[in-house]
């Protein structure tokens, strides 16, 4: 699945789909590693959107000091 233009909701939907497939034993053992890797990538993508980086947090704290 293409990474650019992926929205958070699409990523979550895909993640949930992967989880469901695993739950229902639809994931072939040959595909398991690949799907796990894909899930990992989607999780990282979502986390990046959800959480601030250290740099951003530093910036916020610095702007507080200026005030």
């Amino acid at each position: 699945m293409k990474k650019e233009n992926l929205t958070y909701e699409e990523a979550m939907a895909r993640l949930e789909e992967l989880a469901r497939r695993m739950e229902n034993n639809e994931t072939g053992i040959d595909r398991l590693a690949a799907e796990l890797k894909e899930a990992r990538r989607l999780m990282d993508f979502c986390k990046e959107k959800l959480y601030a980086t250290d740099e951003e947090i530093k910036k916020i704290l610095e702007s507080d000091e200026k005030e």
Partner: protein, 431 residues
Amino acid sequence: MKALTLYELNGLVRGVLEQALPDEYWLQAELSEVREAYNGHCYLEFVQKDLDGRSLVAKARGVVWAGVYLRLKPMFEREAGRPLSPGLKVLVRVGVTFHELYGYSLTVRDIDPAYTLGDMARQRREILARLEADGILNDNKDLPLPVLMNRIAVISSATAAGFGDFCNQLLRNDYRLRFDVRLFPAVMQGERVEESVLAALDAIMAEADRWDAVVIIRGGGATSDLSGFDTYLLAAACAQFPLPVITGIGHERDDTVLDLVAHTRLKTPTAAAAFLVQHQLAAAARLESVSRSVGQLAVARMERERMRLERLSAALSAAFSQVRVRGEHRLEQLALRLSHAWQQRLAAERHALEVCGGRIGRAIPVRLERERFRQQLLRQRFEAADPAVLLKRGYSMTFCGGRLVRKASDVEQGKEITTRLAEGEIRSVVQ
């Protein structure tokens, strides 16, 4: 006829008015102007509009003297939730006065905030009814909140404390949640609210894909003037806005129309920020949960697969051992048959041998008998030749000098001869 001075004429008018209208009257009117003077008095202008509200049909000046205003102002603001301001419909108890210099004026003695409240409520009801008739009342509420809602367009006044509170609460959340906030400044109280909030909404609309939600906030106490948020145009714009609108316009009393059409209504900017943080926490929890379950499911899947393999290998080895047992069984049977056959063969051989042996056995005595007979004949022949036998028959043997004497001439006189008989010997001397 003596001409009157203006002062005299105004004095007459004043006298007549004071005589004809000595009482106080409850008056319903709309304020078109409110001006607090430095000396504490409050100057007002009352108007009445025609039925479609376009043109004035009556107008009068009014005043609240400082002593009265000191008492009425906080009471009204507390009860009505807003200050006296233009556009407000009020019910006031007035006395009618006329002053030679200042002319006709209404002196306000009391005000009934319940009337204003009722009127505001009526106005809100009318706006809501119109939004409903337009079919847009719940449009914004029906928008799904995006799962990830952290790009926030804020409409507020840059100087308001509310915006600072909001940013603090949002950006310094304890969970490191990311939020991108941009302020679209607007006037948040007074007459220009509608116009400037609409302008801010337009600015956000121009880049709607860059934002997840609109937050309209302002700080301020319960007495702030919220009438600007009770307009049809603003409510319609918010209701139809393509992004969810979240309000936190800082008041405890009745909801404004804006609050009623907004997707989510919160009381304060801080509460709005807390709401957004909570929403992101829910997204984080969902991500966390699905991440965990993907991991667990993958592990479980591997475990199941491992167990399947184990079962298979157990089944395989069982099958194998069955095959082996069968093989061994066959081998045993084979061995058994072999040994059976062997024994049979052995028995047969033995039998053959026995038969053979029998024949030999029978042949031997015959042969032995024959041999014995031969030997008997031989022995008889030997016995016939034995001197002892002749001796027994009475013959005797004579030895001389150890040699057998066959002729009498073989002996000389005087020689000793030995005669052997069957039993014993006789020694004699030849004469």
